[in-house]
Every structure is written in C-alpha cells, then in structure tokens.
C-alpha cells in the first residue's frame, strides 16, 4: 500500500458524506446502498464512522459527471478512467467523482459501482494506489469477486490502519 505525499488523513473520527447527484443507470436507492456498503468496508477496520447529510458541505461530496466537470481532470468518455477522488482535506479534498459516461451496474457486467466506490473512498480516506494486484487500491478495475462476499486484502487493511489504527471492536 501507499499513502498520498505527506500522508494526509482526517483528524477526526466522524466523517460526513453527501450524494450530490445520481447516475441514470441505477435506481437512487441502489446508488445509496452501494455507497453505504463501500463506506462500511472501511468503517469495519478503523475507528471511523460515517453519516450522510443531504445539504451543505460534507467532508466527502460524491457526484456523477461527464467530461470537464469543474476540476482540472476531465473525464474521458466511456472506458479507461472510471472515477477519481481526492485525499483528505477541506473543500474539494476528500470528494469522489464518478464518470457518468460509464455504464454503472451492481453486477459483473458494466462497471460495478460498489467496487469502484470502495476504491475511491479509500483515496478519500488517504490511501494512494497499491501495486499489489490483490489489493482494492490497485488502480486497474477488475470484477473478481461477488461484491456480496467482498473482503479487503491485508494490504488494504494494513494501509488504512497505518493511518487510523484498527477498529476498537
């Protein structure tokens, strides 16, 4: 695993998130549930807790966008770049952007929203890419396991716990 330069991390254990908009590919409830599940995998192995807000500025603002979308990293249409996220910090830091030119799904076809969200939220919490192919934080997308049975790799757990310590439970 690796962390961003300077190892930025949240200096609090309770983090807010907001789903700013939705993809037309999935019902809203499915998007909500995929994001919740993705946060839960990190919550289970750290002292961090997450709560959703519906207005105002959350620590992690989650949105779907196409092409140029207000930062210096425009999306590139279908394929290749699926999403990106920023390391912890104020303002746009911590935010997650999904490329809405992808076909977002909850299954093995298209791009699985839960898996990508879990990866991107790893960035939002301070993890950089891992060169370990088994790690969730490996940069290349692969659908290798049913999201229902998904587990973080040791590499991911070691990485996040190096920033936040293990879960107290």
């Amino acid at each position: 695993f690796s962390t961003f330069p300077g190892s930025p991390k949240w200096r609090k254990s309770h983090i807010t998130y907001r789903i700013v908009n939705y993809t037309p590919d999935l019902p809203r409830q499915s998007v909500d549930s995929a994001i919740e599940k993705a946060l839960k995998i990190w919550e289970e192995v750290t002292p961090l807790t997450f709560s959703r807000i519906f207005e105002g500025e959350a620590d992690i603002m989650i949105s779907f966008a196409v092409g140029e979308h207000g930062d210096f990293y425009p999306f590139d249409g279908p394929g290749q770049s699926l999403a990106h996220a920023y390391p912890p910090g104020p303002g746009f830091y911590g935010d997650v952007h999904f490329d809405d030119d992808e076909k977002w799904t909850l299954g093995p076809s298209g791009t699985n929203l839960f898996l990508v969200a879990a990866h991107e939220l790893g960035h939002s919490l301070g993890l950089f890419h891992s060169n370990n192919k088994e790690s969730l934080m490996y940069p290349v997308y692969r659908f290798s396991t049913s999201p229902a049975n998904f587990h973080l790799s040791h590499d991911d757990i070691e990485g996040i716990q190096s920033l936040y310590a293990p879960s107290p439970s």
């Binding site: 330069p5 290749q80 990106h84 490329d99 950089f128 890419h129 060169n131 997308y141 692969r142």
Partner: protein
C-alpha cells in the same frame, strides 16, 4: 523503432501509450517530445516504471501484456504523485 519493432510513430498504440504515461505517470511535455526522436530512453524508463508499478515484466516495450493492461478501465488518480 527503438521502443518496439512493431510500433511506429503515429500508431494508435503509441498515442495510447503517450496519453497513458502523461495522465498516470507524469510524463512531461519535454519528455513527450522524445517520442518523436530516436533517443527514447527516458520514455523506456517511464514504460518500465509503469510496468513495475502494475506488476508487469519490465521490458520497457509496449508488448501485448502492457497494451492489454493499458486498455483496461481504471481509476483516474495517477499512479505517481504530481
């Protein structure tokens, strides 16, 4: 061609490699120009850096395994810090 015998300047593979290295491996503009010159060693080094990071054999060439991985969908966050 110094990178790979089967790949020539202006070839789609070359364009993809250039874009990929620029986007995810911090290939700089002056290094991009090297794609047009005979001495491509800095670009070979960048390709090797990418191959090492992604767990591929470090050939420094745009071989089929490397090209296959570059075509796969991925996270948009660069693999090397800027």
């Amino acid at each position: 061609y110094p990178l790979h015998g089967a790949v020539t300047q202006g070839h789609p593979s070359m364009d993809l490699a250039q874009q990929y290295l620029e986007k995810y491996y911090n290939l700089k503009k002056n290094e991009k120009q090297i794609f047009k010159r005979k001495d491509s060693s800095p670009v070979v080094k960048k390709i090797q850096e990418m191959q090492k990071f992604l767990g591929l054999e470090m050939t420094g060439k745009l071989d089929s395994n490397t090209m296959e991985l570059m075509h796969k969908p991925r996270c948009g966050v660069p693999d090397v810090g800027g």
